[in-house]
C-alpha cells in the first residue's frame, strides 16, 4: 500500500502534520501506537502561555487544529500579561485533556484523506538517500512519497522514579527502539535530553474550600470575558473550573535536601540535559537555596477527571519521598498521590540536520517535527507539525517549501533557531527570542499568516471570507478614527486618531462615551479594539521596528547555494568552516546567527557568495 505522506506519531506535532497534508490533498497514513493517546497531554493540562499562546494563534491563522481544539475543550481561559502591552498579551487555557484528545481525533476522523494505522513504526526505508516507505515492527511495510517523524519522547525513552529505571516513552507506554536504531543508522547526529513531570493527586483527598478559607491556597479563576485562541471561534467561552495557588515551605526544602542523594538527577543516573526554564523541584531547591518559597499551582486535568496536576513540582525522587514532600505542602496534609512524578530521558536529533522546511538534508523526503528536534511544549511541537505537514505535501508535488520569516511569525523564529543554532537543552519559545516582537502580536496573527495559509491551501473559503471581512472592518475603522473629530479637554477639535496618541486616552472609553462609531463584531471585539489602539498609539515604534526588520532581511535574501564549498573560502578558520558545513545555512542571514560566527567571517562569506571559487 502507498500513501503520499506517512506521519509517525499522533501527538501534537503528528496530528497537525497529518491534518495539514490531508487538507492539501495528500493521502496520509497516520501511524500511532494507540488511538487513546492522540493529541495527548502527558504533562501540563494546558495550552498557551507567554509566546506559546502566540504560536497557537499562528497555527490557527495558518489553518491548523490547535486553536480550535483548545477553544472547544478549554475549561479555564486567561490572557497573560494583560497589564502590559499588546505585543506580549498571550492566551493560556486549562484543557480537559480527555475532551481535547477526543476533539482532535474526531477532527482527523472527518478527514477522508487520513488513514489510521495502529502499530509500532520500525524501520525507515531509504533508497539512494531518498525515503521510500516505512516498515512496521509487526512486519508490514508501506510505501510513501514523504515521511514525517514525530516521536516525542519515545526514541529510546527511559523513565526514572528514584532508583527505578524503566524503558518507556511516557507513563505506561513502551519506547521505540527499532525506529531509534533506524534513524541512527541514517547517520543523524543524535543527543540525549531529559524532561520531567510532577506527581498527580486525587482531587477528593484535598479540602480546597478549607485551604482557601485558611489562607493556604489562593483561588484562581479565569478571565471574565475570555479571548479565544482561534480566529474562527465566535461563541463566548466560559470558565468551568478553578485553579489554586500555594507556596512551598521550609519543610519541603528540608525534605528535598534530605533525599537529594536518591534523586537520579543528583546522583548521576540521568545524563540527559533538562530545560532550565522548567526546573525540577530538586533544581529549584539546590540551585537557588536563597529563595524562601516557590509557587505551586494545583490544576484539574479535566471536568470529570480525578487527577490534580501539581504545576511547578516536577521531580524524580523515589515514590515514598514524593509522598512525604507533597504532604509537607500547606493544605495537602492528607493528599493521596495517584501517580508519582518522573523524569524521562530520550534521544533527539540535532535540528541543524534539517533545512528550514524541516526536511532532513541527509535523506530526501524525510521530515522531523516536535520533540525529536529538541523542543519542549505542545505548542512548539504543533507549530513544527504544521510546517512539516505542509512541506511534506509540497515535496510530493515538487513545489517549493513554505518558510516563514523571523519578522513574520514566531513559527519562523522557532524553525530558524532550530536549524541554525541547534539545541543544547530542550527549546522553548519566549517572546524575547523575537527581535521584531512588536510586529508579532496575537491580534495580527491572521493578517500575517492567513494569506499564507490560503496560498498553501489550508484555509477554506468560509474562513477566508471571515478573514477578509475582518481585514475590511479594520481598514474602515482606521478610517473612521481619522474622519471623526472630537473636542479635546482644551476645547480644540481633533481627529480621534490624534487624540488617541496620548498615553492616557483609551479607545474603549471613547467608544463608551460615544465619541466615535466603529464597526465591531462582538466575538472579536476585544482584540479588534486592541488592534486599532495599538496601530495608532505605537505607530512610531512599529514603524521603526518594521524598518529594522527590513534592514535585517537584506542578508536573508542573499541565498547560499546548496553544497557551497565553505572550506574553499579563504580566511575562514577551520572551526567556522566546520560549523558552516554542519549547519549548511541557506542564507547569509542564517549564517550570521550560527553560534561562533564572527562578523568578519560573515563579511568574507558575503564577498565570496556568487563568485566562483578556485578549487
Amino acid at each position: 500500500m502507498r500513501f503520499d505522506v506517512i506521519v509517525i506519531g499522533a501527538g501534537h506535532a503528528g496530528v497537525e502534520a497529518a491534518y495539514a497534508a490531508a487538507r492539501l490533498g495528500c493521502s496520509v497514513g497516520l501511524c500511532t501506537m494507540s488511538r487513546d493517546t492522540v493529541a495527548h497531554m502527558p504533562c501540563n493540562p494546558a495550552v498557551g502561555g507567554t509566546a506559546k499562546g502566540h504560536l497557537v494563534r499562528e497555527i490557527d491563522a495558518l489553518g491548523g487544529l490547535m486553536g480550535r481544539a483548545i477553544d472547544a475543550t478549554g475549561i479555564q481561559f486567561k490572557l497573560l500579561n494583560r497589564s502590559r502591552g499588546p505585543a506580549v498579551w498571550s492566551p493560556r487555557a486549562q484543557a480537559d485533556k480527555r475532551l481535547y484528545a477526543a476533539w482532535v481525533r474526531a477532527a482527523l476522523d472527518r478527514e477522508p484523506n487520513v488513514t489510521w494505522h495502529v502499530g509500532k513504526a520500525g524501520r525507515i526505508l531509504v533508497e539512494h538517500e531518498r525515503v521510500t516507505g516505512l516498515a512496521m515492527e509487526e512486519g508490514e511495510a508501506y510505501r510513501c512519497g514523504a515521511l514525517v517523524v514525530t516521536t516525542g519522547t519515545f526514541l529510546n525513552g527511559l523513565m526514572h522514579v528514584g532508583p527505578e529505571q524503566r524503558p518507556a516513552g511516557r507513563h505506561g507506554e513502551p519506547p521505540s527502539r527499532e525506529l531509534a536504531e533506524s534513524i541512527k543508522s541514517c547517520g543523524f547526529r543524535a543527543g540525549r535530553l531529559k524532561t520531567g513531570t510532577p506527581p498527580r493527586l486525587h482531587k477528593d483527598s484535598i479540602d480546597f474550600e478549607r485551604a482557601v478559607a485558611a489562607g493556604l491556597f489562593t483561588e484562581e479563576c479565569g478571565d471574565a470575558s475570555p479571548i479565544p485562541f482561534s480566529f474562527s471561534t465566535t461563541r463566548a467561552l466560559c470558565n468551568q473550573v478553578r485553579c489554586w495557588l500555594l507556596h512551598t515551605n521550609d519543610r519541603v526544602r528540608d525534605l528535598v535536601c534530605a533525599n537529594i542523594g536518591r534523586s537520579p538527577l543528583y546522583n548521576g543516573r540521568i545524563q540527559g540535559i533538562g530545560p532550565r526554564y522548567c526546573p525540577s523541584l530538586e533544581d529549584k531547591i539546590m540551585r537557588f537555596p536563597d529563595r524562601e518559597r516557590h509557587q505551586i499551582y494545583l490544576e484539574p486535568e479535566g471536568l470529570d477527571v480525578d487527577e490534580i496536576y501539581v504545576n511547578g513540582f516536577s521531580m524524580s525522587l523515589p515514590r515514598d519521598a514524593q509522598e512525604q514532600i507533597v504532604r509537607a505542602l500547606p493544605g495537602l496534609e492528607h493528599a493521596s498521590m495517584m501517580r508519582p512524578g518522573y523524569a524521562v530521558e530520550y534521544d533527539f536529533v540535532q535540528p541543524t540536520e534539517l533545512r528550514s522546511s524541516l526536511e532532513t538534508r541527509r535523506v530526501d523526503g524525510l521530515f522531523f517535527a516536535g520533540q525529536i528536534n529538541g523542543t519542549s511544549g505542545y505548542e512548539e511541537a504543533a507549530a513544527q507539525g504544521i510546517v512539516a505537514g505542509v512541506n511534506a505535501a509540497r515535496k510530493t508535488r515538487g513545489e517549493p517549501a513554505m518558510t516563514l520569516g523571523r519578522d513574520q511569525a514566531y513559527i519562523g523564529i522557532l524553525v530558524d533557531d532550530l536549524v541554525t543554532r541547534g539545541c543544547l537543552e530542550p527549546y522553548r519559545m519566549f517572546t524575547s527570542r523575537a527581535e521584531h516582537r512588536l510586529l508579532l502580536r496575537i491580534d495580527n496573527a491572521d493578517l500575517r499568516l492567513t494569506p499564507v495559509g490560503r496560498r498553501m491551501g489550508l484555509v477554506d473559503d468560509a474562513r477566508w471570507e471571515r478573514f477578509e471581512a475582518r481585514r475590511g472592518r479594520h481598514a474602515r475603522n482606521m478610517h473612521a478614527l481619522d474622519a471623526t473629530q472630537v473636542r479635546s479637554d482644551r476645547g480644540q477639535r481633533l481627529p480621534v486618531r490624534t487624540l488617541l496618541r496620548q498615553p492616557d486616552v483609551r479607545l474603549e472609553r471613547l467608544l463608551e462615551r460615544g465619541c466615535v462609531e466603529l464597526d465591531l463584531e462582538p466575538a472579536t471585539r476585544a482584540l479588534d479594539v486592541a488592534s486599532l489602539e495599538n496601530d495608532v498609539k505605537y505607530a512610531g515604534y512599529v514603524k521603526q521596528e518594521a524598518a529594522h526588520a527590513e534592514r535585517l532581511t537584506r542578508d536573508e535574501r542573499r541565498r547560499i547555494p546548496d553544497g557551497f564549498p565553505f572550506a574553499r573560502v579563504p580566511g575562514l578558520s577551520r572551526e567556522i568552516v566546520q560549523r558552516l558545513s554542519e549547519v549548511q545555512p541557506e542564507t547569509l542571514g542564517q549564517a550570521s546567527r550560527i553560534p561562533g560566527m564572527t562578523p568578519a567571517a560573515v563579511a568574507v562569506l558575503g564577498v565570496f557568495l556568487g563568485r566562483s571559487l578556485s578549487p
Binding site: 526554564y277 516582537r437 505605537y538 521603526q544 580566511g571 568578519a600
Partner: protein, 458 residues
C-alpha cells in the same frame, strides 16, 4: 579580496631613513622564509630576539651564502600568538631603505609575496586577533600625525574603548534581562524590575554614553584635527596673529589694508592637537575683483571652521564692518581676540573685558592665554586627559544613536504608561549600536543571564 593562504612580507616601519627599520613576514611558511635569508645556525626560538645577519641571494657556487645585507635582530612569533594570528617573523635591521628593500626582495625570492596595504591587519581581523574597533585603530595609529593622535589610536588598539563600551553594555544588558524576564515570566510571582528603577538605570547608562561621547568630541578633534579660522575686518592684525600661532612667517604682514587676498593655511601640532589654522582676507566692502574673491573665500572658510578667532583692533574705534562681523558670527564657536594690547585703547573702542582675550600679536603678550582658550574651546578641557577616547566618526554617530534611544527608553519608562516591550524596543536598539561599534553580534545569551539570576519556571 586577498588570498590568505600564502606568506606575505613588507617593510613595517615608515618610508625613509630611520634608526631601525622592521621587515615583517607573516604566513604559514614565515619561519622557512626567515631561515633561508638569515644566517643563524640554530632555529629561531619563539618570542626571543636573536642577533644574526641577513644575507642576499647566493650569486654563484663560489659564494654559496650570498652577501651579508645587514646585521639584524630577528624575532619569531608562532601562531596564533602573533600580530596576525599566523606565524610571524620580524626582522629589525638598520633603517636604510636600501637595506630594507633588499631584505624584502630576498624574502620574496624565498617564497613570500609583497603584502598589499592593510593586508597584515586584514589577516589579524580575519583570524579574530582584532575586532573592528581595533582594526580601524591600526590604520589611525599609522596615520597619526601627532603623538597624542598616536596615543588615542593606541588606546583603541589595546581595546580600551572596547572595554569601556563592554562595561556600559553589561549594565544595559542586565536591565534588558530583567525587563525581558518580567514579560516572559510574568506569572512567576516575581518583581524583576519596577518602572522607576528601569528609568533610573536607563538614565544611568545614557549618562555613561554621554561621558564617552564627551571624550568622543575631543577624540575626533585629536584624530581629524580642527580648523581654526582667523577672521576680522582688514588690517586688524590677523596675519600677525596667524604667524604667532603658526610659529613662522607664512603670511605677508604689511600695514596696507587688504594684503592677504587669498587663504593662507598652516597645519601645526598645537599642544597635541593637529590644528589647521587659516588666515583669511580682511572683511570690507571692496570693488577690487581679486580682493572681493578673497573676501568670499574668507566667508566660506568661516563657515567650515571648528573655531573662529575674530580679531578686533583696540587702537581704533569699532567700525561698521566690525559690528557686522560680530553680529553674523554671534552663534558660532568663536573667540574674540582684542589685538594691539601694546597700544592704548582708542576712545571709541568699547568691548567687554570678560568676552575675549586681550593680546598683542606684535609683542606676544596674552598669546599663552589665547592658546589656552583655543584648547579649551576645542576640547572642552584645558589639558588633554590621558584616557580612552573615541575618535572615529562612525563610532560617535552610533553612540549618539544609542544615547537617543536610551533617553527615549528612560522617558517612556518614567511615564509609566508605556508598556515594557516598547521600552525594550529602544533599549535593544541601543544595544545593537554598541554591538555595531565593536563589530560583534553577541549570541542570544539573554536567557542564560535570566536563568542564572532567577529561579524561574513552573
Amino acid at each position: 579580496m586577498f588570498s590568505t593562504d600564502d606568506s606575505i612580507v613588507a617593510i613595517a616601519t615608515p618610508p625613509g631613513r630611520g634608526g631601525i627599520g622592521v621587515v615583517r613576514v607573516s604566513g604559514s611558511s614565515a619561519l622557512e622564509i626567515a631561515r633561508r635569508l638569515l644566517e643563524c645556525r640554530t632555529p629561531l626560538e619563539p618570542r626571543r630576539a636573536t642577533y644574526t645577519r641577513a644575507r642576499g641571494l647566493a650569486s654563484s657556487a663560489t659564494a654559496p651564502c650570498g652577501d651579508v645585507l645587514d646585521e639584524v635582530v630577528a624575532t619569531y612569533f608562532p601562531a596564533p600568538h602573533s600580530y596576525t594570528g599566523e606565524h610571524v617573523v620580524e626582522i629589525s635591521a638598520h633603517g636604510s631603505p636600501v637595506v630594507l628593500e633588499a631584505i624584502v626582495q630576498r624574502a620574496i625570492t624565498a617564497g613570500a609575496r609583497l603584502a598589499r596595504p592593510g593586508e597584515f591587519t586584514l589577516r589579524a581581523f580575519l583570524n579574530g586577533k582584532r575586532d573592528l574597533v581595533q582594526a580601524e585603530a591600526v590604520g589611525d595609529l599609522i596615520a597619526a600625525a601627532t603623538p597624542l593622535q598616536a596615543r588615542v589610536a593606541f588606546d583603541q588598539l589595546e581595546g580600551t574603548l572596547t572595554a569601556r563600551i563592554a562595561a556600559i553594555d553589561a549594565q544595559l544588558f542586565d536591565l534588558i534581562a530583567r525587563l525581558e524576564a518580567s514579560l516572559d515570566f510574568s506569572d512567576e510571582g516575581y518583581h524583576f524590575v519596577e518602572p522607576a528603577e528601569a528609568a533610573r538605570a536607563a538614565a544611568c547608562v545614557a549618562g555613561r554614553v554621554s561621558e564617552l561621547l564627551c571624550d568622543g568630541r575631543r577624540g575626533r578633534m585629536i584624530r581629524e584635527g580642527a580648523t581654526v579660522v582667523v577672521a576680522g575686518r582688514t588690517n586688524v592684525g590677523k596675519s600677525s596673529l596667524f604667524n604667532v600661532l603658526a610659529g613662522n612667517e607664512r603670511a605677508i604682514v604689511t600695514d596696507v589694508a587688504g594684503t592677504t587676498r587669498d587663504l593662507v593655511t598652516e597645519r601645526i601640532d598645537f599642544d597635541g592637537l593637529a590644528l589647521t589654522i587659516v588666515d583669511t582676507a580682511g572683511w570690507r566692502e571692496t570693488r577690487d575683483v581679486v580682493e572681493r574673491e578673497g573676501v568670499e573665500r574668507a566667508v566660506r572658510a568661516q563657515e567650515v571652521a571648528d573655531l573662529l578667532l575674530l580679531v578686533l583692533d583696540r587702537s581704533e574705534p569699532l567700525t561698521r564692518d566690525d559690528e557686522r562681523l560680530l553680529a553674523s558670527t554671534n552663534d558660532r564657536a568663536r573667540i574674540v581676540v582684542v589685538n594691539k594690547s601694546d597700544c592704548a585703547a582708542a576712545t571709541g573702542f568699547s568691548w567687554p573685558n570678560d568676552d575675549g582675550v586681550l593680546v598683542s600679536a606684535r609683542t606676544g603678550a596674552g598669546i599663552a592665554a589665547l592658546r589656552q582658550a583655543i584648547q579649551r574651546a576645542l576640547t572642552g578641557s584645558e589639558a588633554l586627559r590621558d584616557t580612552a577616547a573615541i575618535s572615529n566618526t562612525r563610532h560617535i554617530a552610533l553612540l549618539e544613536e544609542a544615547r537617543t534611544r536610551l533617553t527615549s527608553a528612560q522617558r517612556a519608562a518614567e511615564t509609566g504608561h508605556t508598556p515594557e516591550e516598547f521600552v525594550l524596543a529602544d533599549l535593544q536598539a541601543a544595544r545593537e549600536c554598541f554591538d555595531e561599534v565593536v563589530g560583534a553580534r553577541t549570541p542570544d545569551d539573554l536567557l542564560e543571564h535570566i536563568f542564572s539570576t532567577f529561579c524561574i519556571g513552573k
